[in-house]
């Protein structure tokens, strides 16, 4: 069965969807990704959907689900490279994907993840400092 590869980059996971997602593939991706987040203790998930040209409500829900599940496992999700037609379709379907961060391309998505994770780590170290004092 086809699987979408999940690449590990430091504390982030990178998923590049190069084919049009059909339902079973999307479900497998959801399960795999949650497993990977748990296994690698990733802090961020970056999903590149620049090659996806067709989207339906199911696919929109899966992306939303992935974001919520990662959030529970303490990882932020960034969706990058959405096509204009896909964005319009999702809005018309009434799926504004609240809780999902977005960026224009992979580079900007990575920068966004780094600032988000960086902020958290800075907070944690501050807390550590206060404990130490």
């Amino acid at each position: 069965m086809d699987r979408i590869p999940i690449l590990r980059m430091g504390s982030f996971l990178l998923v590049t969807i190069q084919v049009d997602l059909y339902d079973r593939l999307a479900l497998t991706l959801e399960a795999d990704l949650v497993q990977m987040v748990n296994k690698t203790q990733a802090k961020g998930v970056l999903i590149d959907i620049s090659a996806v040209s067709i989207v339906d409500s199911f696919m929109g829900r899966i992306v939303g689900n992935i974001a919520s599940m990662s959030k529970i496992l303490d990882a932020e999700t960034v969706v990058v490279g959405m096509q204009p037609a896909v964005a319009i379709t999702l809005i018309e379907l009434g799926l504004p994907l609240k809780g999902v961060h977005t960026a224009l391309d992979v580079e900007k998505g990575m920068a966004l993840l780094k600032t988000m994770i960086g902020d958290e780590e800075a907070d944690e170290s501050e807390e550590d400092d206060s404990v130490a004092e």
Binding site: P84, A87, L104
Partner: protein, 287 residues
């Protein structure tokens, strides 16, 4: 139309044209600014030629016969050009009515001696010309509608330019009312431009939108959400006090959208989030 009167008309084509022209030239509605007298004469002659040539005994009864097609084609052509040139409906109507007058005048001169035949022929001519007038009006209105449609398309295209105000900042001034079809155009052109330029910030300026109701607000929210999905930030600027009042009175929630009063403040915000700084240059005074 009997063969004799047909011959009469054929023979007296010149007279009909002269009568027709004199009718038209003496009419108050003569528009020399739109069409020159020579052009008018050429147009009229063409129509008389095709009308007289195509008249026959059978088709004067059957007004939908195929033999009328050439006449209708020429008449339609004249009518549509008149609609585009800006003639009023009355002026276009009088053009055809004057032709009826001219034909009747010629007929009455030629078959004066047989009142019964004259009556019969006049009735037929009347029917034919009524039919032609209806066609003239139909095509005239169709021509005007085409003009209106083309203008609507042009307005929709012209009024949605996406401007690149800075590297990474796009601005889209919306002028006129926002309806569903325009929002679609606005959204598509904005998103396309975001992809092409890789801009992170889009400013939607609504200073030119006369009124915002719940539907317009809904469209604005949709556009903003779509840009957010693309990974860009969308700022709405140019909100006038009256619009702020209506939005709040209608209970529309714009709290999760960045709104600014003017394009300048939106631009300032965009600069800030891109970590850009605008400074006055130091002017060195020479000693």
């Amino acid at each position: 139309m009997s063969a004799t009167s047909q011959k009469v008309l054929q023979k007296k084509k010149k007279n009909i044209l002269e009568y027709w022209m004199s009718h038209q030239l003496s009419d108050d509605g003569l528009r020399e600014d739109l069409i020159s007298n020579e052009d008018l004469r050429i147009q009229s002659e063409e129509l008389i030629d095709v009308l007289v040539d195509n008249l026959s005994e059978t088709n004067s009864i059957d007004l939908h016969a195929e033999s009328w097609d050439p006449v209708i084609e020429i008449l339609g052509g004249i009518s549509i050009t008149r609609a585009r040139q800006g003639f009023s409906p009355r002026e276009t109507g009088n053009f055809v009515f004057a032709l009826r007058e001219a034909i009747l005048q010629v007929l009455s001169e030629e078959i004066k001696s047989q009142p019964e035949v004259l009556f019969e022929e006049s009735r037929k001519i009347g029917r034919i010309m009524d039919h032609l007038s209806v066609i003239t009006f139909e095509t005239f209105i169709k021509g005007r509608e085409e003009v209106i449609l083309r203008q609507t398309d042009e307005i929709a295209e012209i009024s949605t330019p996406v401007i690149r105000v800075w590297d990474g900042i796009l601005a889209l001034p919306i002028i006129g009312t926002l309806d569903s079809s325009r929002t679609q155009v606005v959204m598509e052109s904005l998103l396309q431009e975001i992809v092409e330029t890789g801009s992170g910030i889009a400013i939607l300026d609504i200073s030119g939108v006369p009124a915002v109701d719940s539907l317009v607000a809904q469209h604005l929210i949709k556009t903003v959400s779509a840009t957010r999905l693309m990974g860009a930030e969308c700022i709405i600027s140019g909100i006038r006090p009256e619009i702020a009042q209506t939005v709040v009175h209608l209970g529309i929630d714009l709290s999760n959208i960045i709104t600014k009063a003017s394009l300048a403040s939106a631009l300032a915000y965009a600069f800030k989030s891109l970590k850009l700084e605008v400074k006055k240059a130091n002017v060195l005074t020479k000693i």
